[in-house]
Every structure is written in C-alpha cells, then in structure tokens.
Symmetry: C2
Subunit: 160 residues, 2 copies
C-alpha cells in the first residue's frame, strides 16, 4: 500500500447496532474452514437469528464442506456489503464483518425446522408460499442438512 493510500483511514466499525444491521441485510457469507491445515471456503446463503446470535444455513447432505466441518468446526467468515469500486481513487467502498465461531450440523428435527424458518424469513419477503411448497412434511427435512454457526466474536470495517 503506497503512502497516499495508507493515509486513508480504514475505519473499524465498533457500533454493535451497525454490525447487526450488516448481519440483517446480508444475504450470504463466505466461510473459511481448515482441515489438516488445508484451507477451504464456501459461500452460503444465511439466516440470522439475532436473539440467539446464530446463523443458519441449508445444504445437501453430502459434500466437501461437511467433511471439513466434521474434522474441524472452527470457521472464520465474512459478510461483505459491496458499495462499489471508487474510480481514480484506487479504493473500494464497502462495509464488512469478519466473524469467528464454529459450525455444527443440526440433527434435531425441531431445531432444523426453526433454522429453516429463520433462513426463509431472513431471505424472503413472503416466505409462506415457499415454505408450504417445499417444507410441507417432516420427511422433507431428511433431504436437507441444516447448519448452525454460533458466533464467538466479530469485527467490522468500512472503506471510504
């Protein structure tokens, strides 16, 4: 980073309400995992449960990320609010969070249902029809893995 660039303050977001606002508005998170010191990442749509400070995801029952998470549930994730590249400034405007925590696979049917409720209400304005179309029986939950990220701590930054 050249001297001109360095004098631009890249401000830390300390306000918990601002951080919560980013969590509520975000649609997806990039999650970094580690297995035998090998890095891997995935991008996942999420639902934020602000009362328990937990993120929920849904995914298929198989896949590389589940193997990583079973070996090591520790994750580091980021939610990025992209406000656009600033031409002629060599800078990008954004708000972002980095979150540390662990991701576990939800096994309990009641919690799977709750996780899917949180997810649909987070992502959709009118979750009812989707819910009725796709989650209309207990058996419909067998095909979906619900993951839960318990947030241990997080930091926020904004550029520009």
């Amino acid at each position: 980073m050249h001297p001109y660039h360095m004098t631009k303050e890249e401000r830390e977001i300390k306000d918990k309400e601002v951080m919560k606002d980013i969590l509520k508005k975000g649609k997806y998170i990039i999650v970094a995992m580690s297995r035998n010191n090998e890095p891997y990442l995935v991008t996942l749509s999420y639902g934020y449960d602000e009362f328990s400070n937990v993120l929920y995801f849904h995914t298929g029952n198989k896949g590389l990320k589940l193997d990583f998470l079973r070996k090591n549930p520790a994750v580091c994730g980021t939610i990025i609010e992209d406000l656009g590249y600033q031409k002629d400034e060599c800078a990008h405007a954004y708000r972002s969070l980095v979150l540390w925590g662990k991701i576990t696979i939800v096994e309990d049917l009641q919690e799977k249902k709750q996780g899917m409720e949180v997810l649909l209400h987070h992502l959709e304005e009118h979750p009812g029809p989707i819910h009725d179309r796709t989650l209309n029986s207990n058996a419909s939950y067998n095909a979906v893995a619900v993951l839960k990220m318990e947030i241990d701590h997080m930091t926020g930054k904004q550029g520009q």
Copy 2:
C-alpha cells in the same frame, strides 16, 4: 436443501474463457488461509495477469494475514459475481470461481513494480495519474508489500 431446491441444477462452469472473464471483471477476492489448522480469511483487491495466470495484491507491511501466509502459503480463494437474490425462488443468481494456489510475498523490486502495474491496470480505467502520484520513486515501494498468488487450479459455478 429441500427437494424443490435440489432439482434446480447448479451448473459447473467448464469454459476456460468464461472463467477468465470472471477473473478479468472481478475487483476483489476473498482468500482463506490456515495456520496451525486455524482458519482465517481476508478480502483483497486484485490485479489479474492473464499471461502468467497470477493475481497480484498490495497491502501494508504488517498484519495477521502476512503471518498466516509465512506459516502456510497455501490458500483457497473465491471471486463472486453477485447477480442478486431471486425473490420467491429461495435462490441467488451469481457466477463464481474457487481458486487454489499459494500466495508469496514479492521481494524483488522489479516484480513489485510489475505487480503494481498489473493491479492498477486491472482496477482503473486511467491508472496513469494514480501511478504518477503515488509510485513515483523506488522508495515509494518500501511502504507497500506486494503479494502474488500463483493459481494452481480453479473451478467455476453459476446459479440461476
């Protein structure tokens, strides 16, 4: 993922030209690292050198990511072209790449200069003024660390 959702094909991008297009259009990459099996990630503006199939970044001379990269240069990164959440579809439209490779710190002044050229030409339409303003002496390169990611392999996906 519920049954309805699973029938939607999430298509792999196999066309190398499409992958290159995503690399050329992208402005930033999220990079996952691993140190002692601890995951960490950062978001970095990048420049893509298509002739050597390398990404260049600039950063300060200190920071957690440099410590991670010195301990373990292996990284996994993602570039996301966000095409928007699809309301009432429980789906997000996107094109994305996942890249594996290693990131090293460029020590050679000539390569640092070349890396900054690649970066500025990737990010800016008119890189000249910024270059003249900020990289006008060899000394100006002392304050900046230039990182290089050699791409080992990558995969592409698109949703919707």
